[in-house]
C-alpha cells in the first residue's frame, strides 16, 4: 500500500488502426508528489491522463494507480475505483449542464461512498460551498445551472468537483487555460493547499511552462515517449 501513486511501465497505447501514440518505458509519481507534465499539442498528454484515470486502457504494459493495476479491473470496477480515488479535471470541464453548480460539485459523492466518507449531506454541501468560495464562486452561484456559467466559471466548478472528498490522486488536464491571471493564481494556490493538506498526489498538465516552478517535479512528455511526434 506504500508504492508510488502512479507507476507506469512498458506502456504501449494506440488508437485502433493507428500506430503507437504512447510508448513509455517507465513513469513513477510518488504519493503526495505534485507533478507538472508538459508537452506540445498533440503529444498525447490528455491521452496519458485518460490512461492513468482508467478512461482508456493500453494495448500493453502496466499502469498501477495507488497499487492497483487498472487494466486488470472490469470496466465497472474501474469506474468505481476512479470515483473512489481519483479527481479528474478535464480539459473540456465536462459538467452536467442541467445540474446546478452545487449538484455538479457533489456528483462524485453520489456514486462513491468512499469519497464521501465522514461527510454528512449537510457537511458535503458545506465543503462544496467552501471549495467554490475559495475558487471565487460565492453562494449566489450554488443553485445556478452549470450551463449558465462562463467558461472560466465552469472550469472552477470542475476543479471543485475534483477536489471534493479529498481523493488520493487529482488529474488536472490544462485546468487554467480558460482562467485570467488573477483567478489562475487563486486557483493554483487553492489546488496546492488542498493537495498539501490532504497529502493528495497531483498530476497537472499545462502548456504554460511558467507554472512548472510551483510543482515538486516537471516532466516533459516528449522525453518520456518513444513514439513522440506521431500525434495525438
Amino acid at each position: 500500500m506504500n508504492g508510488p501513486a502512479v507507476d507506469i511501465s512498458s506502456l504501449d497505447f494506440s488508437w485502433p488502426g493507428h500506430p503507437s501514440l504512447l510508448l513509455i518505458d517507465q513513469l513513477r509519481i510518488a504519493r503526495g508528489e505534485r507533478t507538472f507534465l508538459h508537452g506540445p499539442s498533440g503529444s498525447g498528454k490528455s491521452t496519458l491522463l485518460s490512461l492513468i484515470g482508467g478512461v482508456l486502457v493500453p494495448r500493453s504494459g502496466s499502469i498501477r494507480v495507488l497499487d492497483t493495476e487498472l487494466q486488470s479491473l472490469r470496466p465497472s470496477a474501474r469506474d468505481r475505483y476512479r470515483g473512489d480515488h481519483i479527481g479528474f479535471i478535464f480539459q473540456m470541464f465536462n459538467l452536467v449542464p442541467y445540474l446546478s453548480v452545487l449538484a455538479n460539485v457533489l456528483l462524485p459523492l453520489r456514486f462513491s461512498s468512499a469519497r464521501g466518507r465522514g461527510l454528512t449531506s449537510v457537511g458535503a454541501e458545506k465543503e462544496a460551498a467552501r471549495l467554490l468560495q475559495a475558487l471565487g464562486l460565492g453562494a449566489e452561484f450554488a443553485n445556478r445551472p452549470a450551463a449558465a456559467l462562463s467558461i472560466g466559471q465552469q472550469q472552477r466548478v470542475a476543479a471543485a468537483r475534483a477536489l471534493i472528498g479529498r481523493p488520493a490522486l487529482i488529474i488536472a488536464d490544462e485546468p487554467t487555460s480558460a482562467l485570467d491571471s488573477d483567478t489562475r493564481a487563486g486557483f493554483l494556490a487553492l489546488l496546492m493547499n488542498e493537495c498539501r493538506a490532504a497529502g493528495t498526489t497531483l498530476l497537472f498538465v499545462s502548456h504554460d511552462l511558467s507554472l512548472a516552478a510551483l510543482f515538486d517535479r516537471s516532466v516533459a512528455l516528449r522525453e518520456l515517449n518513444r513514439a513522440a511526434g506521431s500525434g495525438a
Binding site: D79, G83, F88, N94, S112
Partner: protein
Amino acid sequence: MFRLALQSLWNRRVAATLTVCAIAISVALVLSVQRLRTGARESFSNTVSGADLIVGARTGPLNLLLYSVFHIGEVTTEVSWESYQKIAKHRDVAWTIPLSLGDSHRGYRVLGTSDAYFQYFRYGSSRPLMFSSGTPFHDLYDAVLGADVARNLHYHLGSVIILSHGLGDVSFTQHKDKPFRVVGILAKTGTPVDRTVHVSLEAITAIHEGWETGRRIAVAPPKAEDPRKHDLTPMRITAFIVGMRSRVMAFTMQRAINEYDKEALLAIMPGVALDQLWQLVGVADTALMIVAAFVVVAGLLGMLTAILTSLNERRREMAILRSVGARPAHVFGLLMLEAGILAALGAIAGIGLMYVGLVVARPLLEQHYGVFIPAEPLSGTEGLILGAVIVAALLSGSFPAWRAYRNSVSDGLLVRA
C-alpha cells in the same frame, strides 16, 4: 438517482411532456375501451333479471331482445292480445309483463304496461323496482317516470306531460289532447328503465283512438275524458316478459310458443340471447381492444424514439457520470428510471384523462346508447392493464438503457485529434 432522473427529464421537459401525453392518451384509450366493454356488458346483463322468456312477434332473437328490453331499434310486428292472454293464462306461467312501445316523450321511450311491471320486473341481482316518490299509475292518464327522465327534464309529482306519436327527439305529432300527470318517479336502476316513461296499456289505447290510420284523423278529435267510457283493451302489444312457475318449464314453453300455429311468435331466453349478442359484438369488442393495444404500443414506441434520439446527445452526459464514479449499472438504472417515470406519469395522466372523458361522455352514452359506465375506482383488470403498460414501458426503456450500458466511458469523453 431518482432526483437525477427527474432533473434529467426536466432538462428535456418538452420532449418528456410530449412523451407523457402520448402515453396518457394511449392509456386513457385502453382504459376507456375496457370500461366501455365491461360497462356495456354489465348494463345489458343487469337490465333484465328473473325473466324466463321474452315473447314477441317472429323476428330475430337479438332484435326481439334489443327492442323489447333495451328499447333499441324499431318494432316492426306485434303480438295479438288474444295470443298474449292465452299464454299468460297457461297453468305453468306464474306472471307476465305486457310491453307496448312506439311512442315517446322528448326523446324518451314511452312504455305501455300493467301493474305487473312494478310487481315482477327485476334488474341487477333480482332487485325490484322502487319508487323514489309517488305510486304506480291508478288513473288512465297517470305516468310513472324513470329516474333520468324526471331528473333531466326537471319533472316532479304532478307535472303534466304530453306524449308524442312515434319516436325521435323531436316529434311534430303529439297527443296534446290527452295530457298525462306524473304520479310516480322510480329510483335509479342504471338500466333503460331510468329513461322510460311508463303508462298503462289502456292509456296507450286511449291516446291512439282516432289514430287508426297511423295519424290523427283531423275531424272531431275525441275528448281526453271520453276513452274512460270505452273498452280500452289493446288489440296488440309489442312483446311480453314471462316468468314461469318453475324455470325448467321454460324450455317446454319456449318450444310451444315457437310452434304456436295461430300466430308467428318467437320466445327467447334472455340469457341465451345475451350470449348471442356477446358473440356478435365480441369480434368488434376484440378488434377495439386490439386497436387500443396498438395505440399503447405506438405511445411506447414514441417514448422509445424520444429516449433513443436523446441518447446520442447524452453520450457525453453518461460518460461524465461514469468519469465521476457512476458504474454502467447506474447509467442503465438512470435510463430505466426515466422510462419508468415517463410511463408512471403517462399512466397517471391517462387515468385522469379517462375520468374526465367519462364525466363528459357518460350522460351521452346513457342517453343515446343506454350504456351506464360507473365512475368507480380502477378495477383489478384495469390495474393489471396499467401494470402491463408500465412493464411494457420499462421493457422498451431497457433497450436504450442497455445501449448506454454498453458504451465505454471514453465514448463520450474523448475527442480524438
